[in-house]
Amino acid sequence: MLKRVLVANRGEIAVRIIRACMEMGIETVAVYSEADKDALHTVLADKAVCIGAPPAKDSYLNIGNIIEAAKVTGCDSVHPGFGFLSENSKFAEICEDNSLIFIGPPPAAIALMGDKAAARECARTARVPVVPGTAGTCAGPAEAAAAAKACGFPVLLKAAAGGGGRGLRRVNTEADIEAAFRAASSEAESAFGDGSMYVEKFIENPRHIEVQILADKFGNVVHLGERDCSMQRRNQKLIEEAPAAKLSGETARSMREAAVRAAKACGYVGAGTCEFVVDRDENFYFIEMNTRIQVEHPVTEAVTGIDIVKEQIKIASGEKLSFTQDDVEFRGHAIECRITAENVSDGFRPCPGKIEFLHFPGGPSVRVDSAIYDGCEISPYYDSMIGKIIVHGENRADAIRKMRRALSETVINGVKTTLPLSHLIMYDPEFLRGGFDTGFLERRLPELLDIYRKAGGDN
């Protein structure tokens, strides 16, 4: 078993990892930027090392300082959390070169899944359905046009090395494809140094459903069921639940099996997530694999009773999975609301500041993962997510009632947060019916905000 873990992250996920280590009797070393001297992760870890100035590129992305911090404090391993260096295959390699166990998949699996076109091909060879489109990348606009016609307009032109919406174009007609191809390709060339493109059928407002998997170093792969992450605003998830409501058992089973096949095909080890889009007819298509722990992992932990972070650590230590697929049982329904320090009335503008007063909810089946405390500062340098509230109910209706109760108890003064919006969603008829798609917030946000304003709300 690992003896001392360097936690290469900050915020609630760093605290989450430190908590798992504490319970396992593993020592922790936190790293922190000059802005995080008083942060909870810095205080909770057995030891903390300052690794740089506040901007992430100088500290939480500073590979040299993080590796040195691990070495000088005698760590045997590094947990990257999510974001920052978690899906950087070069960082995982450097950890290995320095005799540090990277708590995550092998660098080759990270690199393979990081190349979106290669990941599609890998999934396809594993008989995992991918969004209809090109096999691999297109040689030029003509090939892209042919592929687009074959799968039907509208299509998405995507950069193989893409991310963050760069090198991405929606094309509605054949006439537009050549210009769009050249523009997106040159954009990708300058942003990622790689202008190769592929074509995917555009699926309007699908559901976003993902499957959690765990794989050990002995080739055992199990899934922990699916999560519905369709409640998004501009690709930022707001509310997640497990299992997915109104998804047929047959479809769920097919998706779970597909995720396990994809993990096996890429030689996966550790905790990972296969993301799928699901259309109205429950056709599902693999879009990508996230090779890290995810923000929404607690809903899966709630319904399976499996501590995913502890499993990551056990797998990295070289242990076999202690359970089989048949041992995994699903119980009840879990919902997570992310809390971000943002002003929902002002285009979700981030709201850094000082927490003047804080009261988190408690009671049965309520979990709070957060790194904020009374009087702490929300730094403008990092992500605006300041915590998550997770509830576990006997069924979806019970979970919703628990979430309403938990949110009504919560008080966060000093910064504006998305809490009131989440609270309103818990009463929205479309949400209550379940099975909504990723267009939910775009459709419902104006009315929800209007209700909020009329009620005198000022988050």
């Binding site: 000059e34 300082n65 911090a69």
Partner: protein
């Protein structure tokens, strides 16, 4: 200390941007303190771009020059070592905007702050292992009390299998070495205290 000298000191104080000052000559103590209103009037006109780090040396030099007939040199000295409590009891009187308190014993905060400001804290620019010498068993690059010039190597920090030389960015004297050979150092940790000269 005569009236002319005191006037001159007051004039210098008024132009300095300092909050308060105490001075002592032969058992005589003078205490000058600026009121909030006066500061508002004086500050914009007389201290363009003045910051505490630059106040000290400039101010010390002004006193030294301004009180050549008196004991300016002593004042300069006294302040430089940061002692800060000097009395001048035959001094009284004040001009508009400057309050004089002959009996006060408030320490000169400016002097203390400036005393520290003369010391350069050399901090670790990266995480790694601190080495005081170019190789094991060799003489350290610098020792306490040693004079260094800007650009002189102070130590080596090993990170990512690379030896990174850390160079002095001021001329001065190494007052203190805050870490030991072979110590792990974190970003921003103070390694040396160098007194500028």
């Amino acid at each position: 200390m005569n009236v002319e000298e005191i006037k001159e000191l007051i004039q210098t104080f008024a132009e300095s941007g300092l909050e308060e000052i105490e001075a002592e000559f032969d058992g005589n103590r003078l205490y000058l303190k600026r009121s909030a209103d006066a500061q508002a009037q004086v500050a914009p006109a007389n201290i363009p771009g003045f910051c505490p780090n630059t106040v000290y040396t400039g101010w010390g030099a002004q006193i030294g020059q301004g009180l050549q007939t008196g004991q300016g040199a002593q004042i300069g000295q006294g302040l430089q070592t940061g002692q800060g409590t000097h009395d001048i009891t035959n001094g009284s009187g004040g001009a508009g905007g400057i309050g004089v308190d002959a009996s006060g014993t408030v320490k000169s905060t400016a002097a203390v702050g400036e005393g520290e400001a003369n010391t350069e804290m050399v901090k670790a620019p990266l995480v790694g292992i601190f080495y005081e010498a170019p190789a094991p068993g060799e003489e350290p690059f610098v020792k306490e009390g040693q004079k260094v010039k800007k650009g002189d190597v102070l130590c080596v920090i090993e990170a990512m299998k690379m030896m990174n030389e850390l160079k002095a960015d001021v001329d001065g004297t190494v007052k203190k070495v805050d870490v030991k050979d072979g110590d792990a150092v974190e970003f921003g940790q103070v390694l040396f205290e160098v007194e500028r000269c």
